[in-house]
Point group: none
Chain length 230, copies 2
Amino acid sequence: MKLSERQKSMLAFIAEFVEENNYPPSIRDIGTACSISSTSVVKYNLTKLERDKLIRREKEVSRGLSLDWARLQEAGLAADLAGAPAAQQAADGSAFTFFQVPVLGYIAAGEPIQVETADHYTADEWLELNETLYRNPDQLYALRVQGDSMIDASVLDGDIVILRHQERAENGEMVAAWIDTQNETTLKHFFLEGDQVRLQPANPSYPEMFLPAAEVSVKGKVVSVIRQLE
Amino acid sequence: MKLSERQKSMLAFIAEFVEENNYPPSIRDIGTACSISSTSVVKYNLTKLERDKLIRREKEVSRGLSLDWARLQEAGLAADLAGAPAAQQAADGSAFTFFQVPVLGYIAAGEPIQVETADHYTADEWLELNETLYRNPDQLYALRVQGDSMIDASVLDGDIVILRHQERAENGEMVAAWIDTQNETTLKHFFLEGDQVRLQPANPSYPEMFLPAAEVSVKGKVVSVIRQLE
DNA sequence: CTTGACACCGCACAGATGTTCTTGTATAAT
DNA sequence: ATTATACAAGAACATCTGTGCGGTGTCAAG
């Protein structure tokens, strides 16, 4: 199922419109927004989208259409759309969205964590976060911290770190790094020095690690830390 | 603002309809469902509801209406309605709830923050949290931390602390404390020693404060710390 | 070259839908 | 009684809006 640019822009507009107005756009609304002069072309593409089950449509009902977020998510299209998994009304009437982040397991000098295979369905716990705080929520996941090797960076044993999945990191960033030779994932500050990687704990009582760049792969970068005291 | 039975049933129907169809009902839809034979009567009542700001309406747009959950909640009407913001469907179909926490301002050795008067409608920012992590969410609020006086407790400048509103604290807990004589709220570890209160920063370069218990009032206890690195 | 699928355009039409006008019925205040 | 106000009905109207149909240009297969 591949979509034309036009169809993508239509989806984007529909999402945006619903987000803003709380009711769906008419065919002509869509046409104007997506620079489609003919209503029948809008209908034509709408039918396509409906065939792919990305939207639902009620025949002969004004503005009788809605997005199927489940399918959009499945198709990897939800991320680009306004008001993703569920659009909600904040207390002030403005619309905003929330999303869920899977807590995939523990990180430390502990067992390996297969971030790639652990998907949204194997996670045993979830965090719910406000979109205003994060971008690209579909790339986020969370881990519980075990050990105090990052204590000087104010990350304590038991904290939850939220990471954005990415393979590269800037020097000094706090990352989850997979160490090939040791078969484990660890939370450290990352420094690339020539063809060596230095993984530095933020606790002087733990040693730095120097490893060949080939043996280290970055699994994600810490974007947030959450601690429960109660 | 009191509503007629008819208006209540209209609200209920609109909520139910939107929940089910993802688009709003037409005037005639409402009429049929609420046993109103005339479209003008529906419009009449819709106008009333709009005057009370319980719904929003776009003139001359088919199905151009939406519920204002904030106002409905305020009026205590939201609970009876289908699809109220509090109830959501998780990906696995199970229901769970989330809630919002107002970010009321900054805390430090800074300006006073009137937690009592700052209610859910004056907050300029919100956090959204999963209920599974917190109990009694209605007593929660959040503050941004200014300054590094709690750095040794791993609370950094810029962090957001979530507090539970309470007047009492156990020794050693991290609290937001109002200091009468200085007209300010500050974040410190709390110790009651006789009729004196010791407020201790978690940073050796800041001094402890000893104050008469009468001059200190606890505004809340820190239950969580959130940090954004990105 | 012809054909057919595909994406697109314009337009006219009919059905869907909000609005307005007139009328009628209570109830409470004057 | 009279007036004002809230609530309701029905019909006519205007416009919003989805649908259908004829037509165009492109492109690859036959």
